[in-house]
Point group: C2
Chain length 210, copies 2
């Protein structure tokens, strides 16, 4: 079987980590790099990854996430956050970076600048936040696929009190808001989810050729 | 360098495919399997992948996507669609499948059933569609990462007239709506995007450790 597909079958939502094993700092650096390389709509990268190491912060966040143990007991708790300010400043930041990396002037990018400004100016603020949220979900799977490749376990958690988590980490002050929590570590052999079968609909239910 | 990270650096949004090369049917089958194995919130899999082979349909869709050539000239055009009916029927379908694969009775799943029914009944319909859309973005990157691993090129397209595409493919009649178009194929050496540098913010801009 193709290794990528093998990895997908290997991974699952891990509810209990083996606390005697810790994801290395080197692996964490690679995870951050993978996140950084995610694609996004208009290339705007409307996101930030908060890596929580502090045990007290993790415990507080667990309290805002139905006390799910894996949110506290893990190697690192990743918090995927969306940018609340998809605006001219973000457009400028992207265009400056693009000009710099491609050795061109901002003037050469003025056509694309118009498109981006039209997008951020004409789209209702509420929809811009959905846009950011969608991009965060996109980046999440990039990290999940990489973790499966590294045989690092994880459990995406989206049922939590976002406002509380934002307050615990002071995210709103930085104009970010939490979307997904992703505790990472190595699966415990006692994890009850480990014995469950992966439940996916049959092929004919999820695709159609035209 | 890690191969996964190498793949991320290799991939880019391909605007022009080499029309003399075609993605094999075997690779397409694997792509569908990868999509099928994507994770989703509550495991509800609120999505469907429409694979467009018909040249005339592709051409019509191109007309609804700012006439972007790559939407027509490709090996296959994948249309990632969200399920518009996240409701009791979908919950039943998931629970039936779960009971079947785990060799247990629906009764054993009644606790989880309550949670799922609470979710679909108490969440406003508008938010349920955002939920579905988020999950589609999640599944999209699963496919993108796999394509990069197979050295198959692609170009996620989300700026298009969704209603027109839904009408061309009669998606609404099936209670689905298009979210993303993903033409796939092999890059042309003439593609202008090929010469552009990948533009990503610097590491310190996209992550923070706490």
């Amino acid at each position: 079987m193709n290794k990528f597909i093998e990895n997908l079958n290997w991974r699952y939502a891990t509810k209990e980590f083996d606390t005697s094993k810790k994801v290395s700092r080197g692996d964490l650096d690679e995870i951050i790099e993978v996140f950084r390389l995610s694609a996004s709509g208009f290339w705007l990268q409307p996101w930030k990854l908060f890596v929580i190491e502090d045990e007290d912060l993790k415990k507080q966040i667990m309290g805002a996430a139905w006390n799910q143990k894996q949110v506290w007991e893990n190697s690192y708790l990743l918090v995927f956050a969306k940018n609340l300010n998809v605006d001219k400043n973000l457009v400028d930041k992207y265009l400056d970076r693009s000009a710099e990396l491609n050795w061109i002037s901002r003037y050469d990018l003025s056509g694309y600048e118009q498109t981006l400004l039209w997008f951020v100016d004409s789209t209702p603020r509420e929809y811009l936040q959905i846009f950011s949220e969608n991009q965060v979900y996109l980046s999440l799977w990039n990290v999940l696929a990489f973790l499966a490749d590294k045989k690092i376990d994880s459990c995406p958690v989206w049922g939590f009190d976002n406002e509380k988590v934002d307050a615990i980490l002071s995210l709103r002050d930085k104009w970010f808001a939490s979307v997904i929590l992703l505790p990472i570590g190595y699966r415990s052999e006692n994890d009850t989810n480990l014995k469950r079968k992966k439940v996916r609909f049959e092929k004919e239910d999820i695709f159609e050729i035209m």
